[in-house]
């Protein structure tokens, strides 16, 4: 079984899912992430390991990247969610995957994505009174010492 087979199986149940041409990642709508994660976590595939959750700033939207692994069928799949910058909210997956707790805190800290129903959504790397989200492309900081241009 390969990622494209999993994609076909997800598409039967969630018809709005599409596959990214370049990366072959499965792009899902933000409001269906809970249902899809529950489907992947079920006994059929048992994708019960969430390797990694990170984000990419594409300027007009922020792309969340979920990487799941199944020890049962020995397969890794990539899920992507595109969130527009003006409404950065998505359901937390902490009910299915305990490992997402700190991942989601990290994404919140560095990109400002709000995870709904997260048990403890606060900053994890930066001090708690930090302003702004440092890994955004438009982030700037008044104390930056600019590098000399040659």
């Amino acid at each position: 079984m390969r990622q494209s087979d999993i994609f076909e199986l997800i598409k039967l149940k969630f018809p709005q899912v599409i596959q990214d041409e370049l990366t072959k990642a499965i792009v899902v709508p933000g409001d269906q992430i809970l249902g899809i994660a529950g489907f992947l976590n079920s006994a059929e595939f048992s994708f019960n390991n969430l390797h990694c959750l990170t984000a990419i700033d594409r300027k007009e939207n922020i792309e969340l990247v979920y990487i799941f692994y199944s020890f049962k069928i020995r397969l890794q799949i990539t899920l992507k969610v595109c969130l527009p910058v003006d409404s950065l909210e998505i359901e937390s997956l902490t009910n299915f995957y305990r490992s997402t707790d700190w991942f989601e805190r990290e994404v919140y800290d560095l990109f400002g994505v709000k995870f709904l129903n997260h048990p403890n959504l606060c900053r994890i790397l930066n001090p708690s009174d930090w302003k702004g989200f440092p890994l955004r492309k438009d982030y700037s900081y008044p104390d930056f010492i600019k590098k000399a241009q040659y």
């Binding site: 001090p127 440092p134 104390d143 930056f144």
Partner: protein, 171 residues
């Protein structure tokens, strides 16, 4: 007499012939003893601490200088080796550890990051620009990225010289 000549501080101590009495200036003996037992804090921040650990292990052996007793509590330490990049969040912790150390206390800034921010000097938001930027006075700077364990030992010998040249035995 032969044994006493082998001790590094033996020129400070004079034994009266025939008697069980030694004569020395108490300050210089005290400073010699203090400089020969500078206990560092078990405190590593980044990759420079790996070099500090190597200096503590048998190949380089910081114990030869009396500094092998890495204490796990700042209240039992004489010297803090700031080994690595100080991030803004860790800066508060460094300041608190320095404040918890009893006087007399010394600080060694190990590596470029602890001196000035190093390669993180430009265009970063989360790195403190060196130990002095936190308001902690530094006694010995050891440049390098990272410095070799020999450099740390050299810096420690410089600190020992500094301790021996202090005006007062007790700070």
């Amino acid at each position: 007499m032969a044994v006493i000549e082998k001790i590094p501080g033996s020129q400070l101590i004079h034994k009266l012939p025939g008697g069980g009495i030694v004569l020395a200036a108490s300050g210089s003996v005290f400073k010699w003893a203090k400089s020969s037992s500078l206990w560092p804090l078990t405190f590593g921040l980044a990759c420079c601490s790996i070099e500090m650990i190597a200096a503590g292990a048998s190949r380089f052996d910081i114990d030869r200088f009396g500094s092998g007793v890495f204490r796990a509590s700042p209240r039992q330490c004489d010297v803090m080796i700031v080994a690595g990049t100080i991030s803004v969040k860790m800066g508060e912790c460094v300041k608190r550890l320095y404040a918890q150390m009893p006087e007399p206390k010394y600080v060694i800034a190990l590596g470029n990051c602890a001196i000035s921010g190093g390669i993180f000097y430009h265009d970063t938001y989360s790195v403190v620009k060196g130990t002095e930027a936190l308001g902690i006075p530094v006694d010995v700077y050891i440049p390098g990225c990272p410095p070799r364990p020999e450099n740390l030992l050299f810096g420690l010998m410089k600190l020992q010289e500094k301790v021996k040249k202090e005006r007062y035995a007790a700070k």
